[in-house]
Amino acid sequence: MLRLSRLLSKRWLSSSKPAGSTAAHYFPHEPKGPHLATDSIPGPKSQALNDELGQVFDNRATYFVSDYTNSVGNYISDADGNQLLDMYCQISSIPLGYSNPELLKAARSDEMANALINRPALACFPSTDYKQILQDGILAAAPPGHNKVWTALSGSDANETAFKAAFMYQAAIKRGSRDFSAEEMASAMENKAPGCSDGVILSFDKGFHGRLFGSLSTTRSKAIHKLDIPAFPWPKAPFPALKYPLSENVQANQAEEQRCLDAFESIIESYPPHTVAAIIVEPVQAEGGDNHASAAFFQGIRDITLKHKVLMIVDEVQTGVGASGKFWAHEHWNLTTPPDMVTFSKKFQAAGFYFHDKNLQPNQPYRQFNTWCGDPSKAIIAKTIYQEVVKHGLVEKTAATGAYLYPQLQAVLDKHPDKVLNLRGENFGTFIAWDFVDAGARNKLLAEMRARGVNVGGCGDVSARLRPTLVFENSHADVFLGALEDSLKAL
């Protein structure tokens, strides 16, 4: 049933791809270009507001103080009246542009007010409409092969609940049909084995999966994310460091991926069976520097995990919801067997993980549990996002915008081989990044871009990443390319 409706919606989506600009449809008053009101950004009002904010809130990561009431479509306004083309989008989490009229409608609905003020403990007292909200939204968007969901509140939370599901799944296999032993029950209360698991989650070098204690143990991006925090002794495998351009480095890259797969398998083999409960991997390592790998690499991961009965978690927190030119980036791989769990958050506004094996629901209730178990108000927003993405063909449009942008970006960067390199994300929607010769140059370019009214984010040590909305179109790409050309010259 679910698969069918998904197929139908996909077919409908490709046969009736609405032509024309969705941005113009949503945002008749979207600015045509950036508007600069102050000499520098942050401007004086932003700075004053941020200073005040600093008295009660850690504000040292503030870029500028925003005025969301005046932000429209792809343009974010700051407190000084500057309007910037936003290609960072709240760390990759704005799907349909600022002040999207359909989201406004959803937010103003009685359904939303009800969900906000009567927040249920979902696993105990779900509402009459929760199933339908899931069915029409989060589940309608499920990746191929997935038909169940556990809802959470953030990317970290989604990953950690997926880890919990993995640990309980593996322990149940080891335990077989017997009940928990008295020793397990007693030792669990002492935080000790055998009641507490000695299992591990394997992640990849430069991966980023969040910042709570379990997720942070799998995060391998930067020291500053991890310092001073106790960590579980979980293993990490190398992630391929591909050479660009890909077409000129086919063999070297194949060898690199094989090296990583071999290392991956030998780490898994170094543990007793069922001890590596799961591996977690991003389709593109985003925070860690937009590191890509080939479909063959991920198929290799899938094969090895199946062989060793290790669960495969794909972290689509940053890659999910259309930006890659597929709704879920891992759909690019055409895996022979779908991953076991797929986690999401950010652009979907709701968080959680998809799965299909009912044994990923623990054998007893109240094991995967907490007070709220998600948030219906976010599920309503996710439903609206999904329906709009389908209605306007935004996944396909994002693929097309990416195809328009990529070669032109290549041409702009090619003029500055001494400053920039390693453009990546071809045929991957607008999920594009490139490197600079060093962090200083990268940071300077981001500042130059901001001074020209374009907000771009960095990632890794030396990369810039594009994370625009799904209504970022060719006209916006032109604005971006113009600003980039000028900024690169100013470097």
Binding site: E52, V56, D58, A61, T62, F64, V65, T69, Q90, S93, Y98, L103, L104, A107, M112, A113, N114, L116, I117, N118, R119, P120, A123, C124, F125, P126, S127, T128, L134, K148, V149, L153, E160, F163, F167, A171, M185, A188, M189, K192, G195, D198, L212, G214, S217, R220, A223, I224, H225, L227, D228, P230, A231, Q349, Q364, P365, Y366, Q368, N370, T371
Partner: protein, 472 residues
């Protein structure tokens, strides 16, 4: 007019029970259908929130229950509260839902105002806040803040930079960059179910089994004899015994203890209370050992104990270092006051959203309603009234109302049955008389009504309890 009458002119005057089984047939259908896509095994019933009003929750079958469980202690002002509807429909709220910011990078112009809504009701001695999304999230962020602070002290101060060795070892998950440090918690405590909060939770094996855990220590939490006024001597000794265990763990645990985490009343673990002296003792020990004291007010906060924050009853000095909240506040996070609890550089206490302005706006509205209507004091009064009635019932049915506790803690009341089977039967039977009521630990019943639970609701509750018990 009472507050509930002002808010809810159409609140039912009594429960309505229309089905003979619970969950009713429509709920059962809904549970089955939801179960295809979402774990629905813990579901009590499917609720119809549109029809629920004030202290009454309506289910899919049309039963209307007096709700003294209130979404596991998380509904502050009753269902469909008009003041909250107003907040939910406000432009500010719409904006917060539609354009959710990454607060740490691009705070909106209104963030300070929104935060001030939370700070207006900060516990005594606290004046800063870091937002989170759930109780477990709030606690774990508080642990992170604690570890950052503790290592900074060890390093020689807030401004001392990281060593190269720290920077390299941390990427291997090894000390000194990833230090072995502990949060001390208590037996029977509940602080959440993610990996670190799960390591501090110690209420039931089912919460912890098969999860990797940090090797963090547990002290004993006092087990008092009731009634308290007849066992003062013994209970004082019990405090002393437990404090000695804490003190001892500081000396003997295999790694340094950076913080002590405690609930003002251990809720999931059975509504276990402890004295002011016990909490002051914890404060003294943490100060002595250079550790932080974290109060978990996730379940006790927002007035249910008769003061806005449960730990304010203890009047400990100096104030706790961190106070975590969630549930009834609808937003989560931690309060603190020492500027050095903010880590030395940006992006250490950080994540994509850093909280949710939509939930914080609601929290601001909740706080201002609670203050405006003086609801903690009113809860204290209703609680006193209710406690007396329960004492009367206890005299009549001592077997079914053992260890009645929560005197002078407003409606935060609990008692014990002989065993979990008897308790579970009671909880179930209460449905037949139209009351939705929760348990905690093995054999306790806990009352967790809203802040607009009044004398008339207490009368209905007591009559319902008596009706059930009289059939035993």
């Amino acid at each position: 007019m009472s507050t509930s009458e002002q808010y809810f002119p159409n609140e039912p005057v009594a429960p309505t029970v229309v089905t003979s089984e619970f969950p009713g047939p429509k709920s059962q259908e809904g549970i089955k259908s939801l179960g295809q896509v979402f774990d629905s095994r813990p579901v009590y019933f499917i609720a119809d929130y549109e029809k629920s009003v004030g202290n009454y929750i309506v289910d899919a079958d049309g039963n209307s229950f007096l709700d003294v469980y209130a979404q596991i202690a998380s509904i502050p002002l009753g269902y469909n509260n008009p003041a909250l509807i107003e907040a939910a429909k406000s432009d500010k709220m719409i904006r917060a839902i539609v354009d959710r910011p990454a607060l740490g990078n691009y705070p909106g112009k209104d963030l300070e105002e929104i935060l001030n809504g939370l700070l207006a009701v900060a516990p005594k001695g606290q004046d800063k806040v870091f937002p989170a999304l759930s109780g477990a999230d709030a606690n774990e962020l508080a642990f992170k803040a604690t570890f950052f602070w503790y290592q900074a002290q060890k390093r020689g101060g807030h401004k001392v930079p990281f060593s190269d060795e720290e920077n390299t070892s941390v990427m291997k998950g090894q000390a000194p960059g990833s230090p072995e440090l502990a949060i001390l918690s208590f037996e029977r405590a509940f602080h959440g179910r993610l990996f670190a909060s799960g390591s501090t939770t110690c209420s039931k094996p089912v919460h912890k089994l098969d999860m990797p855990s940090f090797n963090w220590p547990k002290a004993e939490f006092p087990s008092y004899k009731y009634p308290l006024d007849k066992h003062e001597e013994e209970n004082k000794k019990e405090d002393q015994r437990c404090l000695e265990i804490v003190e001892n763990l500081f000396k003997t645990h295999s790694c340094p203890i950076a913080g002590v985490l405690v609930e003002p009343i251990q809720s999931e673990g059975g509504d276990n209370h402890a004295s002011n002296e016990f909490f002051q003792g914890l404060r003294d020990i943490t100060l002595k050992h250079g550790a932080l004291l974290i109060m978990d007010e996730v379940q006790t906060g927002i007035g249910a104990t008769g003061l806005f924050w449960g730990h304010e009853h203890f009047e400990i000095s100096p104030p706790a270092d961190l106070v975590t909240f969630s549930k009834k506040f609808q937003t989560a996070g931690y309060y603190f006051h020492d500027p050095e609890i903010i880590p030395n550089v940006a992006y250490r206490q950080f994540n994509t959203w850093c909280g949710d302005p939509a939930r914080m706006i609601l929290a601001g509205a909740i706080a201002s309603e609670v203050v405006k209507h003086d609801l903690p004091a009113k809860a204290q009064k209703v609680g006193g009234y209710l406690f007396k009635k329960l004492e009367d019932l206890q005299a009549k049915y001592p077997q079914y109302l053992q260890n009645l506790r929560g005197k002078d803690r407003a409606t935060f009341i609990a008692w014990c049955f002989d065993n979990s089977a008897a308790r579970d039967k009671f909880l179930k039977d209460m449905k037949t008389v139209g009351v939705n009521i929760g348990g905690c630990a093995e054999k306790s019943v806990r009352l967790r009504p809203t802040m607009v639970f009044e004398q008339k609701h207490a009368d209905i509750l007591v009559a319902a309890i008596e009706k059930v018990l009289s059939g035993y």
